[in-house]
Symmetry: C2
């Protein structure tokens, strides 16, 4: 049997803070995995090895024992200790030796030197769905910098009652019994489901009970489950165009075809709804169309429901910020008119409380409640207990309704301020559509503007705006900007709007120049 | 123009606690939606209506205004108030009237009377994937009652340091700035990712950095994303058989074929791994095979890695409770041997801390980190901030390592107790395999036993056990039971085992009787 030579046992120096035993184990493992110590090769006796390395024999015995337990070495009385014969390891040189330097860096460097044909082409591939998942619209955020005016979809986190929330967190955390800390119901914490059903019966006139309320970590997750539960490859999912890209992306994942339906200033054009049998599902932001801002009128709501009824179809009503209605009580939800149980109503606390809470809900038809709860339990099990318990108390004790009232007033004032400042400072450059609902304003640019270029230029001056073309899916849409006013106090609004004026003017001047040139050229 | 008759305006009595205005709005809406008040129909003047109903004229004016705003009514000066003409509503009787009784009950009753051809056949259908999602193995829990001996997968929640966790929750909650409460990074809270990477470098010898650590709400969610990112329809996913059904179900969702690979007492039989090109991914519980309990030996780990390398394949290593190793240090993870970045390592805090925390992680190859973070951001956005911050502090301050040490000792004692009690009280009836790792023991029943029947009989006597056949996917597996010892103190273990004795004896006697009969029959 081959004996380990001195060279094969050459050990890298011991790093600071690593115990002798850990170091020696690591070095021997590395030598075996790299093939320097071949399967079957015999190791020195513990006495000889201890003498060679000038360490205690006890340490060597412990190391050998550990590596025997791990399967690297075999120890048989009489024949000494050998490298395990059964290990499927190639001879030295063919396997890439592992360095003991800082791991991430070492590996990255190794991958670099290996070149693309080794690293990239031998690498496992993403699935078709994986390639879509790898392109989330939320990663790049279109270069959006949060905390600057006028990032869309941002509640004012400074206006949130932190101290109260803290107190409830403390109370509820203390109140949890060991039983509450085990696996829970896929559909969510029962007190929270009841509190949400109660709130919706009152605020949205939705006739629902706790059994229909599914607790999720985000509306995005709810949409994903809706798509998976309801869409087969080849089905068509209808979305508003322009509309929320986060929904369209999810509908595509499972192989459904996504088709845009035109939107005007009132919302989805229900006359344009296709009646083909494949059209299985429509996604609609009825309370506050994203991005054009309309509130779907009653006759279109009824037409949409009739369309669903005519073809065994489903409507997903995404009410992401409709609770902020500035000109009177919120219109009752589409779901409140749903006499045939075809509407899934989605709500989120990201915009009503704070995004990092990660709680949202779906109110689903009776017939979908069990499949939906099952789908949650299979794909995530359920939402965490403490945030659910705190939120249930926050709603149940009346803090939620009060917070909504306060924010509705605050954001209403800011909406008016934003509207006024734009009207006076940006006259002729930008037309802010009437702001009736939500956290964001929709503003139209002069016809022919390149809204992406305008948004990029504004970004360079510290003002965030999302171009309407970001939401486009093929249908013509007016150039414009979606701008969040709700997280900015009035001084910030004035400053932000003032910053915009010269930027928009320069675009306007350039456009006028182009028009002039075009005329001269004729 | 038609005028509303008295009959059409007949209103249901006002329920207690409902304001006059809310009641009247609701009744008029219901009459319009039910078609009793047809589009175009003219309403009484506010003065007449107020007199008819004996209410103040101001209330009627407010109600008409509200319904005009909502689109139910049209009001034109001179011509009075009419039901909006454009509403797409059928004549009375064809639409189902909405009752104002307790909503859920009323609707369920309506569906019942409508009969199956109306309710069920006109209902939208679930997708193919939806039908699989509707059958989660976690919903029925096979009739499992938690909190009884010997429910599997249960940490001892009474032994969790609640007060300490509460204190950290309070501290971390107070430390959150408004910025932390907005939308976060899809891959997770950076301090938690760093803390986990650090822990794994030490405890599992996994060379990873924070950028590879993805924070999720559960291992189940991680598995779901792995399947979606990596499997196309027609691909084959390999699972252990018997093995964890929660993984197999997820792999099936997207249309992949799931193929079982046999398992022996050491774990996955790597000799039996198929080498077809479609075999894209293998799922393995290397540290503690679920349900047979083996720890995959080094040579099989290396063989599995070589298999992955040979075909651009992926290995998912689900280490759900391997940190509880009772006979020495945990074996280093498969991921620690992964020199070609093919292993996704999954860990969960459900078994190490408590399930309702809902935090888990995946350590992914470098090349998969960005796609994985993108997939999280598209399907859920990210995990909630507060639990992540608390857990980061819990790990960073050394509490996690201490808790693991304490639980390892506690569960080790309970494992020994369970093993001893079974050996003395259930000799010949049940053979508990050596317990080296985890929260659950694997026990074999006499050959030919019906383990589902035994588990059901034990359940009737208050003892939970999951039959090994629950985990079966077609390969032959020995009859046996998976039993959790870790949440039971020693008295409960003794009582539970004592309860089992007569139940198992009666099965044994019946089996002996059958054998006797069979012999007599020959």
């Amino acid at each position: 049997m081959k004996r380990a030579a001195e060279l094969e046992l050459a050990l890298a120096p011991r790093a600071e803070g690593v115990t002798l035993q850990r170091w020696l184990c690591g070095e021997l493992r590395a030598a075996i995995l790299a093939g320097r110590l071949a399967p079957g090769c015999r190791l020195p006796s513990t006495r000889d090895f201890a003498r060679q390395q000038a360490i205690s024999r006890g340490t060597v015995v412990a190391v050998y024992d550990q590596l025997i337990a791990e399967g690297y070495l075999s120890g048989a009385t009489g024949s000494g200790t050998t490298v395990a014969a059964a290990l499927p390891i190639a001879a030295a040189g063919t396997a890439q030796p592992r360095t003991s330097a800082a791991p991430g860096i070492a590996r990255a460097a190794a991958a670099d030197t290996a070149g693309t044909d080794d690293a990239a082409t031998k690498r496992p591939r993403l699935s078709r769905q994986g390639q879509l998942l790898a392109n989330s619209p939320f990663l790049s955020r279109e270069g959006m910098v949060l905390g600057r005016p006028f990032s869309p979809n941002q509640p004012d986190l400074g206006a949130f009652p932190h101290a109260l929330w803290q107190r409830l967190t403390h109370q509820q955390g203390r109140g949890l019994r060991p039983d509450d800390m085990g696996y829970g119901d896929g559909a969510g914490h029962q007190p929270l489901r009841r509190a949400i059903a109660e709130h919706l019966r009152y605020s949205q006139r939705i006739d629902c009970h706790a059994g229909q309320v599914m607790i999720l970590s985000s509306a995005q997750q709810a949409l994903d489950l809706c798509a998976r539960l309801l869409l087969d490859p080849g089905d068509t999912a209808l979305v508003e165009d322009p509309g929320y890209p986060g929904a369209a992306r999810l509908f595509e994942l499972g192989g459904a075809r996504v088709q845009g339906v035109p939107v005007d200033r009132l919302g989805l054009c229900t006359d344009a709804l296709p009646t083909a049998e494949e059209a299985r599902l429509a996604y609609v932001t009825a309370a506050h169309q994203s991005p054009l801002g309309g509130t779907l009128p009653l006759e279109r709501r009824l037409a949409l429901l009739a369309w669903a009824e005519a073809g065994r179809r489903i409507i997903i009503e995404d009410d992401y910020d409709g609770e902020y209605r500035f000109d009177g009580a919120p219109l009752p939800a589409l779901k409140s008119l749903d006499r045939h149980d075809r509407v899934i109503y989605l709500g989120t606390f990201s915009k009503l409380l704070f995004p990092a809470l990660r709680l949202a809900y779906a109110v689903v038809p009776e017939w979908l409640a069990e499949p939906f709860a099952s789908a949650i339990s299979l794909t995530v099990r359920h939402a965490p207990i403490l945030p659910q318990a705190v939120l249930a108390a926050f709603i149940g004790e009346g803090h939620f309704a009060r917070h909504l009232r306060q924010m509705r007033r605050l954001y209403g004032e800011r909406a008016a301020c934003f509207q006024h400042e734009c009207a006076t400072q940006l006259d002729g450059l930008l037309t802010v559509l009437p702001i009736t609902t939500g956290l964001d304003a929709t503003a139209l640019l002069p016809r022919g503007s390149d809204d992406r270029a305008v948004a990029a230029a504004l970004g360079a001056w510290g003002v965030e705006a999302r171009p309407i073309s970001f939401y486009g899916m093929g249908q013509p849409a007016p150039p414009g900007l979606v701008m969040g006013f709700s997280a900015c106090n009035e001084a910030a609004i004035r400053r932000g709007v003032a910053t915009m004026a010269p930027v928009l003017e320069s675009f306007n001047a350039a456009a006028a120049g182009n028009r002039g040139q075009a005329v001269a050229g004729v």
